[in-house]
């Protein structure tokens, strides 16, 4: 039904034919790849901005200047002020903290639960695989906006609940991807080989599965960070995300929408911020995938 447009097609973006393995010389390759370096640098800078927000932000993000409401970019307010006279630049800077923490934690939920379900269902297979996959089907069929709305409505609107909603809504997609990758490892012979020599299940999972899936995990996790940021913004856009006065980019964008005609800067700057950060995360994800994917077409 109403789909958050972003995450579902991720399955199609990465069609792992062979298991992506973490190579020992990964770091060297990563540093060699120009794109990855640029993205990592940019993200580090963004993270720094977030951490040093109190120093960098010219004003307190929640301070209201009643006499300078809805002013365009000017000397003292570089990116202008919003509808109750708060400095847009300061809110964007503090917004980094909110956006990064929320997306990181949301992806953590997706990562842990998704990987667990994906690996379990691929490794055990049989009826468990079937049951788990049918549940995933149900969650996938349920329009993700309804799933997110329901979670937020039950737990009450707050940033943490929005984060949980976003995290949970991405689990089915993530789990299916991991299951796909794990299945291709399982069928590639050496798992049967090691089981035939009597190695224990936990050993196989730790030594065989995880290193091989690790590459895939890293790639998808990076891609899903972008998705988490967009989905949190989407939730805020329909008023169920961060609570006022938290300076969350999605809320700022949706507030900006109401001033589309007279205060263009309110929607533009958060929009650009989201796009750039998500772009760099996705670009990094692509670079990682090309590094780990032995049959990279590059």
């Amino acid at each position: 039904m109403a789909k958050l447009e972003t995450y579902k097609p991720i399955q199609a973006r990465v069609a792992p034919k062979d298991p992506i393995k973490i190579k020992s010389d990964t770091l060297r390759k990563l540093l060699k790849d120009k794109r990855a370096v640029v993205c990592i640098l940019f993200l580090v800078i963004v993270a720094l901005i977030g951490i040093l927000a109190p120093l960098l932000a010219p004003f307190d993000p929640e301070e209201q200047f009643y006499e300078s409401i809805l002013q365009g970019p000017s000397k003292e307010h570089l990116l202008g002020t919003d509808a109750i006279g708060r400095d847009v630049l300061s809110r964007l800077v503090y917004g980094v903290r909110v956006t990064l923490t929320v997306s990181m934690l949301a992806v953590a939920i997706t990562f842990f639960l998704g990987t667990f379900i994906g690996l379990l269902s691929a490794y055990v297979g049989g009826w468990l695989d079937n049951v788990l996959m049918r549940i995933m089907d149900i969650l996938l069929a349920l329009p993700s906006i309804i799933l997110a709305l329901a979670i937020v409505a039950i737990l009450g609107p707050s940033l943490t609940n929005a984060m949980i909603a976003v995290g949970v809504a991405s689990i089915p997609g993530f789990a299916r991807l991991i299951r796909g990758a794990a299945l291709s490892i399982k069928s590639s012979g050496f798992v049967e080989a090691s089981r035939s020599i009597g190695s224990s299940h936990s050993w196989i999972l730790r030594r065989q599965f995880l290193p091989n899936v690790a590459g895939v995990l890293l790639v998808y996790t990076t891609l899903f960070i972008g998705v988490a940021i967009l989905d949190t913004a989407a939730l805020s856009f329909i008023g169920l995300g961060a609570q006022p006065p938290t300076p969350e980019w999605g809320t700022m964008l949706s507030e900006g929408k109401n001033y589309m005609y007279d205060a263009w800067w309110l929607a533009t700057f958060p929009g650009i911020a989201i796009t750039i950060v998500v772009f760099s995360v996705n670009f990094l994800g692509d670079a990682l995938r090309d590094i780990f994917d032995p049959k990279s077409t590059r």
Binding site: E62, Q64, Y66, I69, A83, I84, G85, A153, G156, P157, S158, G239, L240, Q243, P244, P245, E255, K257, N258, Y259, M260, Y261, D262
Partner: protein, 490 residues
């Protein structure tokens, strides 16, 4: 503007449905725009009995509904019976004529209403357009459950088409010649057709207005009105909203809020002018009492004894109650900080954040919880809240009964006011027919509400409509637009 749920005026719970059905039907009585007095309309004349319990109305001759049924007293009797009949599950219409025990139509022209007790608001309610219009029982049987999408009435326009999710179209009723007295054009309405388009988002509505795909924009947000006042191609129609634009409710069952000093301090901390300027672009007036000047019974000297902005006195009041400012600037008493949860609807985000900052100045810490409409209404009616923003609109002071009468806890009496003297006055207000006397009663009601600071009223606002100059002479008939005299410059 939202899509209505149904056009069956007895069953709808959305005001937009009454706005549209206004054009389809007429009212028994009407309110004179200037004198605010009640005048005859579809009822030529009306008499109220000595004890105020019986109202006799003479129905005007020569009026027919759009499906051909002639308008008679019997039509009104059947309509009112349908409202009172619990099977219909009538909504707003039922609350408007709650007091009626029984109606009768001895002959073609006389329609008699019997009341359990004299009800002052009833007469005014009979002027409310839309909800109490005469309906054709034949049409209701014919369409059955689908009547909501094929309404019939005795108004200047006839229902033509409803494209789900998009628009409702009304076309002119050519044999209409019984408009209200004050209309210049006494014949059929000039416009051939009215199309109501459903546009959820206000900015998109304004974009549609600018691009010419709509001529009239309803409920235009105050911040955008100035733009159209300066634009020669448009003209703005404004009216006082019959109700408070924004007020802060305080839950008396909350232990800290039960202390009058705290409630007064909150009232005095709020800078109403700053909020009016920021939130509604200055298009409103500060409110000191529970009802705005536009509603009958408003007592002007509320503005004198109402609580004014006075930070120092607010702080001293809190100190009187034993609070002292702690290290991080928040008032504290026996170790617990003075903090409240402010539950609001998302559209009040902006005002909430301003109030939050203002209360912080006097040492009251506020966390905002922005909920969507459904959840908020549920929480406030159950009393699961401390502070909450709300707005209301109602044509008669009797709304105060629903808001403050102790019997209404669980309904609109969110603050859980239980004041016997207030209850008595509210009941008296309902049954006093004589307007002057009724004003006295409501003056006392307002005084008690303000004294006890059950609320912190913030502002009364105006309702704005913007019309493209292409369409001339769009008039305002008690808060709703009337197109009887409107014509289009070709």
């Amino acid at each position: 503007m939202q899509e209505p749920d149904t056009l069956d005026v007895h069953k709808t719970s959305m005001s937009i449905a009454s706005v549209i059905t206004n054009h389809l039907g007429g009212t028994l009585l009407t309110v004179n725009a200037d004198t605010n007095e009640i005048e005859s309309n579809l009822a030529e004349s009306y008499q109220v009995s000595e004890d105020g319990k019986t109202i006799t109305l003479k129905i005007r001759q020569g009026v027919t509904l759009s499906d051909g049924t002639p308008l008679t007293a019997k039509v009104y009797k059947d309509t009112f019976d349908r409202i009172l009949n619990p099977e219909t599950g009538a909504t707003v219409a039922a609350s408007l004529i709650g007091g009626i025990q029984e109606t009768s139509a001895p002959d073609e022209q006389t329609f008699i209403i019997e009341l359990a007790a004299p009800s002052a608001p009833l007469l005014r309610n009979l002027t409310s357009r839309g909800y109490l219009q005469p309906l054709s029982m034949a049409a209701i049987e014919k369409h059955g459950a689908d009547y909501g999408r094929n309404p019939v009435g005795a108004g200047p326009f006839i229902f033509k088409e409803w494209v789900t999710g998009q628009s409702i179209t009304l076309e002119r009723n050519d044999d209409y010649n019984w408009p209200h007295a004050s209309a210049k054009n006494q014949g059929k309405a000039y416009p051939d057709q009215i199309v109501y388009k459903f546009i959820q988002d206000q900015q998109t509505m304004l974009a549609a207005l600018d691009s010419g795909s709509i001529d009239v924009a309803m409920e235009v947000p105050p911040k955008d009105v100035q733009r159209y006042r300066d634009n020669p191609d448009y003209y703005v129609i404004e009216a006082e909203r019959q109700g408070l634009g924004l007020f802060l409710e305080m839950n008396l069952e909350n232990e800290t809020l039960s202390d009058l000093n705290v409630r007064k301090a909150i009232n005095m901390a709020i800078n109403k002018d700053a909020i009016i300027k920021a939130v509604i672009n200055g298009e409103g007036t500060p409110a000191y009492g529970p009802i705005p000047s536009a509603v009958f019974g408003y007592d002007p000297n509320v503005e004198s004894y109402g609580h004014k902005l006075n930070k120092d006195e607010a702080i001293s009041l809190l100190e009187q109650s034993g609070y002292t400012k702690n290290s991080n600037g928040i008032m504290e008493k026996d170790g617990s900080e003075l903090t409240f949860e402010l539950s609001i609807m998302t559209q009040h985000n902006q005002a909430a954040q301003m109030v939050q900052a203002m209360l912080k100045d006097v040492g009251i810490d506020v966390n905002i919880q922005s909920l969507e409409a459904g959840t908020l209404i549920e929480k406030v009616s159950q009393g699961e809240f401390q502070l909450s923003f709300l707005a209301y609109s109602y044509i008669d002071p009797d709304i105060l009964y629903l808001l403050f009468h102790s019997s209404q806890i669980g309904g609109l009496n969110h603050v859980r006011a239980q004041n016997s003297e207030l209850d008595g006055l509210l009941e008296k207000g309902r049954t006093t027919i004589d307007p002057e006397e009724r004003k006295q009663v409501y003056a006392q009601v307002q005084e008690i509400v303000v004294e006890n600071a059950y609320w912190a009223p913030i502002y009364a606002e105006k309702v704005f409509f913007v019309v493209n100059k292409r369409v001339q002479d769009v008039k305002l008939m008690n808060v709703n637009l009337d197109y009887q005299d409107s014509w289009v410059k070709q």
